[in-house]
């Protein structure tokens, strides 16, 4: 068998454009996921606030308990039945962001709960309200502990984003498949796609490692 990478070389701008869409959709989803994860994670800290706790718990259970692909299809193919026709990019961002948010929420909750109880007590004892204490004392420490598991989540999100190619979004996966459909060189093109995803996840890993090192140097991590 002979490998022929010529379709990859001729279509490399197309692949890079796709990779750019992948970066865009992942970045926006990441921001949405972090925002939702932070809210849901904090919402699940106190079971005594039953409504907030219940809503956040139901969100996490529903999203984690069903396949991402099904969630994306509900948004893209299901909602139009109710006359809700969202642009494909928005469906992708919403689907990935909401999915990621459920996992981020557990990371947030775990990190906050791992902070020694004495920190909250000390903050409250000088008169800070619980939200001030959370903002100034607990979260800055918890964020540092979130970085390694968030790194895993970010990488999973980049890879999961390949599913949005099924929503007609012209991401890396979609562009690769277009090249395959005219060149019939599946192995070579999929290998090229794999390499590009690997580069994206590698850059993310390095960036997070650098951030962690920077925080350690600043004394944020002991």
């Amino acid at each position: 068998m002979e490998l022929d990478f010529s379709p990859v070389w001729t279509g490399w701008t197309q692949l890079l454009e796709g990779a750019l869409i992948t970066v865009e959709i992942t970045s926006v989803s990441l921001l949405l996921g972090c925002a939702l994860g932070l809210l849901a994670g904090i919402g699940r800290l106190n079971p005594a606030r039953r409504l907030i706790y219940g809503v956040c718990t139901a969100y996490v259970a529903a999203v984690r308990g069903t396949p991402l692909l099904v969630q994306l299809f509900i948004l893209f193919f299901g909602l139009p039945q109710f006359g809700i026709l969202l642009p494909a990019f928005l469906c992708g961002v919403l689907g990935l962001g909401v999915y990621s948010g459920a996992y981020v929420s557990e990371i947030v909750r775990g990190a906050i709960q791992s902070i020694d109880r004495g920190q909250m007590e000390a903050a409250r004892s000088i008169g800070l309200s619980s939200s001030q204490a959370m903002q100034s004392v607990i979260l800055p420490q918890a964020v540092v502990r979130m970085i390694p598991p968030l790194g895993n989540e970010f990488i999973a999100l980049i890879k999961n984003s390949a599913l949005v190619s099924l929503l007609t979004i012209h991401d890396l996966m979609h562009e690769g498949q277009k090249i395959i459909s005219v060149s019939y060189r599946s192995l070579e093109v999929y290998l090229a796609i794999a390499v590009l995803y690997f580069v994206l996840t590698g850059i993310t890993t390095l960036a997070l490692r650098k951030l962690e090192r920077h925080l350690k140097a600043g004394g944020m991590v002991q």
Binding site: E121, A122, R124, S125, I126, G127, S129, Q141, G219, M220
Partner: protein
């Protein structure tokens, strides 16, 4: 049980304080008054409820029964706590120092001290830093202003924790075993700062096992056991002529150790 009569001048007034953790009764009816500038030292065997008693005085624990009035406010009355906003305001007046220091590890020494004043007293960073530097001088740590807590010794951490509490200009200071987590050679530097505060007229409630400190500084020594105050009085009485057998037994056990 010793019950001090109600004193209208009291800055802390405690009546019938009760607190349980599940089935376990920790405080079983405490009556006590503290008048301004008094130094109260609370002693007693482990598990006698000393720390819980102290923590009930700033609402870190919620008592189910009885009443606590402190700095002119009713903190808790038969299980009903002060609303959160008032509780926060009250805590500004009641400083607390913990056994395990609880410094904020992500903030420098100076930022640990200025956080409260900036967020709650509305001071600018510059104003708060000037005040923090005065406090650091008082606790003898001027040179550590920019250090991170992780680089400090236990004694230094506790002195920073005292400065952090003082930054809110409290009227009362609560100390929960402030020297128990320290290596023996570092205890003195913390006690010295506490003696300085006492000499300046700060109202203090101190849970401690440092009997020499109690003898030297306390106006009233409170002996707790089994969730009640078994005896309270001036240190010379408690240490030389206690009326309760349990006090005698406890003091013998503690003093023979040192």
């Amino acid at each position: 049980m010793t019950s001090t009569p109600a004193d209208s001048a009291a800055i802390i007034s405690i009546r019938g304080l009760r607190k349980s953790f599940g089935e376990h009764v920790v405080l079983n009816g405490i009556d006590f008054d503290v008048i301004p500038k008094q130094v109260i030292v609370v002693i007693g065997p482990s598990g006698s409820g000393k720390s819980t008693f102290l923590r009930c005085c700033n609402g870190l624990e919620q008592a189910e029964g009885g009443r606590v009035d402190i700095c002119g406010r009713t903190l808790v009355n038969e299980g009903c706590m002060l609303p959160d906003a008032d509780l926060n305001a009250l805590r500004e007046e009641v400083g607390m120092v913990f056994q395990s220091f609880n410094l904020f590890p992500h903030l420098s020494v100076r930022d640990n001290i200025t956080l409260g004043p900036r967020k709650l007293r509305g001071l600018s960073r510059a104003q708060a830093q000037i005040e923090a530097d005065v406090l650091l001088q008082k606790v003898g740590l001027t040179q550590k202003a920019d250090a991170m807590p992780a680089s400090l010794s236990g004694g230094q951490k506790q002195r920073v924790a005292i400065a952090r509490a003082l930054a809110m200009k409290p009227r009362v200071m609560l100390f929960d075993e402030p020297t128990s987590a320290l290596d023996p050679e570092l205890v003195g530097e913390v006690l010295q700062v506490m003696k300085l505060l006492a000499s300046e007229g700060m109202t203090m409630m101190v849970v401690t096992h440092e009997m020499d400190f109690a003898k030297e500084v306390a106006d009233v020594v409170v002996v707790m056991d089994g969730g009640i105050i078994i005896e309270a009085g001036p240190p010379e009485t408690i240490f030389t002529n206690p009326t309760q057998e349990r006090t005698r037994g406890f003091l013998q056990a503690v003093l023979s150790r040192t």
